[in-house]
Amino acid sequence: MDDLKAKYLGQIAGAADEAALEDIRLTAVGKKGEVALKMRELGRMTPEERQTVGPALNALKDEINSAIAAKKAALGDAALDERLRSEWLDVTLPTRATRQGTIHPVSQVTEEVTAIFAELGFSVAEGPRIDTDWYNFDALNIPGHHPARAEMDTFYMARAEGDDRPPHVLRTHTSPVQIRTMEAEGAPLRIICPGGVYRADYDQTHTPMFHQVEGLAIDKDISMANLKWTLEEFFSAFFEVEGIKTRFRASHFPFTEPSAEVDIQCSWVDGQLRIGEGDGWMEVLGSGMVHPKVLQAGGIDPNEWQGFAFGMGIDRIAMLKYGIPDLRAFFDSDLRWLRHYGFASLDQPTLHGGLSR
């Protein structure tokens, strides 16, 4: 029995491949194998002999089977190692190309502005870009002869012959949205109105279309002091710099009274603009307390309600925040520009996660 064991374990250890192992298995523990033949002899043995030989044969069979299984696994491992040795790849090769999409700075900054004002309870109002001259001018206290009309470089829509209505305009600001929203929703009201606006001007710093965001807050006792706080909070959040100061300067807009132009604190260091530090000032925004006539045009009683309004250029604050030099390039769709100044799709600005990376 020990001979048998030694013989087969030796053969198993020496087997070169799975086929040889299988041959050994059949010869040793197969149905007609040597161990099976020995089992058959058990019948002719005495009960005493059977009690010792039987278990011994079973143990031998188990031992051979597990030796074969172990050898099989070892052979498999060796074969895998051999295969893997031949499967070497140059992993420095480039991958299959995937496109990287981008979000335009105008969209990104609009979302940033929206996130900040949403936190202050301002919702987003929108309106048509072609509008009547009433919504764009008259309702905003800019009557037909007002010099501001001529100064706004308005685009007019052509009128068909026989159509004697005043021509519609491409909105010169998003203020008509303020009127439309006041009409629809009344007071109290807190909205921002972002979107494209149009003026017939094209040079180094002007494009015939650009983007504005205006804000409007109407309530019983809102004051210019609230406006200043709101804007300072906004600028600090937007530029991600603590405690940005603003300076209000008296100015004039037909739709607000009093009116102020607003500067933000900045400095120039080695030709680089730094917002929120130093003692320089840069004009970024026009604002004021909504003119009673404008409230009236929006169907809101100026004896009962008051509020502030402001407006600034989205493209402009995008340029300031992200150091984009040329306004005209915003609308040129140059792939190099879109990729360089654009934002990743997953970089959605939030207040809890931060506006920018």
Partner: protein, 799 residues
């Protein structure tokens, strides 16, 4: 609006520095745009003394001068007739830049004799047009800086010029006195008394004036008088200096007088040569239409009905409030002058000026509104100045119409001022401010001064008080929340959808563009627009003449530009409005994408391939899914003709509800737009995608079966133009409970199948829910699938 510091000080008694003044101006709403330090360019010129002068040996007109300077005695050759021994001169040493001749002086030889500098004339220093000789100074020491001498002896020549931006509501600040009044109200000095007594007329005015009855609202009042026997000529130096400093060209004294008051008092005047007024009468009337006049700018103007004109007995002589006529204007030879001071209606003046395209100082002021009550004083001021300088004898004043009464008063509500501004300004301070600005307070009523046409209500009083008090002092105060607690979401479902679509496109690898809303007519026409409905009346160029009917043309143009820059592969998208007409309601939001070139640059994996229709189909499906469109849609053909007729599909819910369209752009469109194709595009109308009906956030329960799913493959031979979707829908319908999914996994066209035939292979996945499928069950479902598909497609099971 420009003025010099010394001009300001003629109206304002102040010790404030230039910095204090400019800071206050900006803070008051008179924004300083620049301060020109005119002395800066003269900083290097010094005084010299001509010790001797002798004739140049080789030139009759040149003198060889020995000039004592701060660097010792220098030899300077000079051609000026007044160059002579014993005068104090202004010297430009070698290396000094001379602005009037745009030259830097060097050491040179003039006709063989060396010269070490130059002695300057006034014109060479841009101080005046004077160039008859070099400057001779009556005082000064050798080596002194010329600007220091000027500051001491002739400050008007070098004092700073301040330029401010004037907002349309402040016509009063278009005169130096108005600016001075603001500064005085702020506390930067006191306003000087500048009134002159009326000039007694010596004889009746020989020219009569009348205003037509129907013209009185356009010209309520007209004052005039003749001054005879004047001597016109160049203005005195002080007046020329003033005008030149603010960028005006002195013309002749009589004309300069009108310009002076235009800027000094925001009071345009006009002077006629009285001898050229036919019939000794002037009549202010409405144009009939068609009259013409040669203006002072030597251009001929033709008038339309209703414009305000001033005519003599024969013809039109002046465009009221806008521009005088060339013929009746004053010349150097004028001896009898008729001075006009009138009030013209702002609206009418603006209209006339705009229609005639004349931008004059007079129009600019009349259309913003001058002080009507100062009209009678204006004529006296002008008369006095003319008499003082040009002599002559003044007639009595002739008046037509009467000074319009615009007097009005508004209630000053001191509490409301504080409530609006959010600053503590006492009532007495508020009253003091208004009084300083010329308001007259009676109780709580503030009577508006005649020079402030902009003040039209209580809110304007608030503005006046606030700006004089200085908004710089404003302290921020928190804006209370509308409601306590966690802020509510603010975006509408459509706004959210727009934002998601944008990020979905970017996630798919598209670069977002923002294009102009207007494009050229031919491109608009290729995409169903370009009609007169969407035409701009005044486009900035022919490239931007029509509102875009679609986002695709601008994306195609952008693609063509990028191709030209050497970038053939790209994915561009835009989210924005398009315009189907010229009314406010004709605006629709679109999302469009454009793919062209290859999926990427060629690569080692051979993965790069030209983009095709199924790329944009995948992308439009992904974006539609992201914005919540239902998965089950129909795909129709017969889309817009800017797509390839056989290679596009409209994604629809029902025959009329089109959510989007995708396909290959028509090659003819690409050719017309100079773009190398092929190009694939898609457009989504996000507003067409139905909003979800359910309100809650709970999802339906997940039903998963523990039983194994079975897949069976089928191949059908159908006509080549049968849609795969027809087969898929038929197979899905064979057993709605059991069939979970049907996928097309192979398409084979022609070959052994014969012309016009194709084979489509489907995998049908069956998911039992209550018992394991037996062969018999599978056979039964398979038979139903074959039956449904062959009936729906007209095809046969492939054997």
């Amino acid at each position: 609006m420009k003025f010099t510091l010394s001009w300001l000080k003629e109206h304002l008694d102040t010790t404030a520095s230039i910095d204090e003044i400019t800071y206050a101006l900006t803070d008051l709403g008179l924004e300083v745009e620049g301060v020109e330090d005119r002395g800066a360019k003269l900083a290097d010129f010094t005084l010299g003394y001509v010790q001797s002068a002798e004739k140049h040996p080789d030139a009759d007109r040149l003198q060889i001068c020995q000039v004592d300077t701060d660097e010792g005695v220098q030899q300077i050759i000079c051609g000026a007739p007044n160059a002579r021994q014993g005068i104090t001169v202004v010297v430009a040493k070698p290396g000094v830049y001379v602005p009037g001749i745009d030259t830097t002086i060097g050491v040179g030889k003039i006709r063989g004799v060396e010269s070490f500098g130059m002695m300057a004339s006034e014109r060479e220093l841009e101080l005046s047009e004077e160039h008859d000789g070099i400057i001779e100074l009556p005082s000064g020491n050798v080596g002194d800086r010329f600007i220091d001498w000027l500051a001491e002896n002739d400050p008007a020549k070098v004092d700073p010029v301040i330029e401010i931006a004037i907002t349309p509501n402040r016509p009063d600040a278009l005169g130096v006195r108005g600016i001075a009044r603001d500064l005085a109200a702020r506390g930067l000095g006191t306003l000087k008394q500048r009134d002159v007594p009326a000039v007694e007329g010596q004889f009746p005015c020989p020219i009569s004036v009348s205003i037509d009855e129907d013209t009185l609202d356009q010209c309520p009042v007209f004052y005039g008088r003749v001054i005879r026997g004047v001597k016109n000529g160049p203005s005195p130096a002080w007046l020329q200096d003033k005008l030149r400093a603010i960028g005006l060209r002195p013309i002749s004294f009589l004309v300069d007088v009108t310009n002076f008051f235009t800027y000094d008092r925001n009071r345009p005047l006009h002077v006629f040569d009285a001898d050229k007024v036919a019939g000794n009468s002037l009549r202010i009337h409405r144009a009939k239409g068609g009259e013409t006049l040669m203006g002072l700018d030597d251009k001929e103007y033709t008038f339309s009905e209703g414009m305000t004109l001033i005519s003599d007995a024969e013809k039109v002589e002046s465009i009221a409030g806008v521009m005088g006529g060339a013929e009746s204007g004053c010349s150097m030879d004028t001896v009898n002058v008729f001075v006009e001071a009138a009030y013209f209606d702002p609206v009418r003046t603006a209209y006339t000026g705009r229609a005639l395209k004349i931008n004059s100082d007079a129009r600019y002021r009349f259309e913003r509104g001058i002080d009507p009550e100062w009209t009678p004083y204006a004529i006296e001021h002008a008369t006095q100045m003319i008499l003082d300088i040009a002599g002559g004898e003044a007639s009595e004043v002739v008046v037509a119409g009467k000074v319009p009464d615009y007097s009005r008063a508004y209630k000053l509500d001191a509490a409301r001022v504080q409530s609006l501004v959010g600053m503590t300004i006492s009532e007495s301070e508020q009253r003091k401010t208004l009084t300083a600005l010329g308001f007259r307070l009676e109780g709580d009523m503030a009577h508006v001064p005649s020079w402030r046409p902009d003040v039209q209500g209580e809110a304007d009083l608030v503005e006046e008080v606030a700006r004089i008090a200085s908004l710089t002092k404003l302290e921020g105060r928190p804006l209370p929340r509308l409601t306590a607690g966690v802020p509510k979401p603010v975006l509408s479902p459509m706004q959210r959808r727009e934002a998601i679509a944008r990020r979905a496109c970017a996630a798919l690898g598209y670069n977002e563009c923002v294009s102009y809303s207007f494009i050229d007519q031919p491109s608009a026409a290729l995409f169903g627009g370009g009609t007169d409905d969407t035409r701009l009346e005044n486009p900035i160029s022919a490239d931007m003449s029509h509102m875009r009917p679609s986002l695709l043309p601008a994306l195609l143009q952008a693609a063509a530009r990028n191709q030209a820059r050497g970038f053939p592969d790209m994915a561009l998208f835009e989210v924005g409005p398009v315009f189907t007409g010229g009314e406010p309601g004709d605006q629709h939001l679109q999302i469009s994408g454009l793919l062209t070139g290859s999926t990427g640059p060629k690569d080692v994996h051979g993965a790069s391939r030209p983009v095709d229709v199924f790329d944009v189909k995948a992308d439009i499906e992904a974006v539609l899914s992201a914005i919540g469109a239902p998965a089950k849609v129909q795909i129709n053909r017969n889309g817009a003709d800017w797509f390839h007729p056989g290679r596009h599909g409209q994604i629809c819910l029902g025959p009329k509800k089109v959510l989007g369209v995708f396909g290959e752009i028509h090659p003819r469109v690409l050719a017309a737009m100079d773009m190398k194709g092929p190009a694939m595009g898609f457009t989504i109308w996000p507003a067409e995608v139905p909003l979800p009906r359910k309100a809650g956030s709970t999802r339906p329960a997940l039903n998963v079966s523990a039983l194994q799913a079975v897949e069976r493959d089928f191949a059908f031979v159908v006509d080549a133009d049968v849609d795969a979707l027809t087969l898929v829908n038929a197979a899905m319908g064979a057993d709605k409970a059991l069939i979970d999914d049907v996928r097309v996994f192979d398409e084979f066209i022609g070959g052994a199948l014969g012309e016009g035939k194709k084979s489509l292979a489907l995998t049908v996945r069956m998911q039992p829910s209550d018992k394991t499928l037996k062969d018999a069950d599978i056979e039964a479902v398979s038979a139903k699938v074959i039956d449904k598909v062959t009936k729906a497609s007209g095809g046969v099971l492939r054997g």
